[in-house]
Symmetry: C2
Subunit: 216 residues, 2 copies
DNA sequence: GTAATGTTTTACCAACCGGTCAAATTATCG
DNA sequence: CGATAATTTGACCGGTTGGTAAAACATTAC
């Protein structure tokens, strides 16, 4: 009997693991460039090299694929912020946070766009995660930044808007890649733009946060 | 005979103007929150309070609505950058550019999201405008900024990445509004976040661009 | 080998989608 | 008023969409 929809079984087979991985990989491609509503199961199935009913054997609905993808991405996406060390040196912590976020924009642009698409369209699937775990993490790190400012290690500033500005400036290179490419023209070639961006952003934030007359 | 599809006539009637406006207004709502592919004519028609065939009497295709909307938005969207004055004071020019972009994010978030959706999904409808008029304008203003740096009025920096960072930080408050709301929680209420953002961003960019040891 | 389980395919469905058509209705103008 | 043009509606169409059912096929366990 062929009842079990890959869920009834306790143990996942080798084929299941492979196929699910292939589906998620394909879905990342499709969802990140068309958004949830604009993507079709057929597109994902084709990108994954299988038929639609076959794909639906592994994931019962389009939502199920999307949810699993979002969950996975959200976790790794916050990794750099989690790594923010309260006991570290403020300058190097912020500098390396910027650098890591920029590396992620460079190396995982699809993940960034998947996330951006979701937020842009009102985050219908992840509102809870934003208000829960995300807010909690940001609150925690904001307090760290505030403490640094109190100790005079960096200029006084609103830590939330500081974090927003680091998010937006770095993710811009993934999310608005087409625009960046159009504007930079020939200078876009290769990955040089990421080095230029890193230099610019590190300069901006380091000078912008420097305590006047002192060293960070 | 009822042939004319609102195009054959030279003169637009009062009804035509009103209805077209209502359709574009409704389409802005729908497109900005679902993207092009994710939006349906039915949704737009319902939001505009008319039947689908009636809507299609004014705009022949879904693309036609979208194109007109994009054209209109793109023009006003670049207005602040156009206003950038080469002969003005660098500090106040940059400061007021930031402020104006932030005001637009506050007052026209749907327009920002429409644009963001389009870029995110690969800008299939406006690639030419990005590579043409947009690039040209940015090139021109980048040269202005570079000149200011050469004259020692602001710190040396890559003008393109400066512009990108102003775009991204300001538009973030429109495009990622849901996330900003989730993270700020109760502090999101009202429009105070825009004043906080303005204060933070002006500080960041003003200090970040200040020539060390001198005044801008 | 064979029986049980796991995987893939073919055929299909109801709902939705962008868009058309012709007829009915309403506004405009002399 | 009547005629003409502008607008609105309802019925419809072919193609796509998310998803299902069942049978065919492959794999594994004994």
């Amino acid at each position: 009997m062929a009842i079990p929809r890959a869920a009834k079984t306790q143990r996942r087979t080798r084929i299941q693991e492979e196929k699910e991985e292939r589906i998620l990989e394909a879905a990342l491609d499709v969802f990140s460039s068309s958004g949830f509503r604009g993507s079709t199961i057929d597109q994902i199935a084709e990108a994954a090299g299988m038929s639609k009913p076959n794909l639906l054997y592994y994931f019962r609905t389009k939502e199920a694929i999307h949810r699993q993808l979002i969950d996975r991405v959200l976790f790794t996406w916050l990794e750099p912020l989690r790594a923010f060390d309260p006991d570290g040196n403020p300058e190097s912590e912020i500098r390396s946070y910027i650098r890591r976020k920029l590396e992620m924009a460079r190396d995982f642009p699809r993940e960034s766009r998947l996330f951006a698409n979701e937020i842009l369209q009102g985050a219908p699937h992840i509102e809870d995660e934003l208000k829960g775990p995300l807010k909690q993490l940001v609150d925690e790190k904001a307090e760290v930044i505030r403490a640094w400012a109190r100790m005079g290690k960096i200029a006084k500033c609103d830590p939330y808007h500081l974090i927003f500005s680091i998010w937006s400036t770095t993710q811009h290179y993934a999310d608005f890649d087409v625009q960046v490419r159009a504007v930079l023209g020939q200078h876009y070639a290769g990955e040089g733009r990421f080095e230029d961006a890193a230099r610019f952003l590190e300069g901006l934030f380091m000078e912008g946060l420097r305590v006047r007359g002192g060293v960070m």
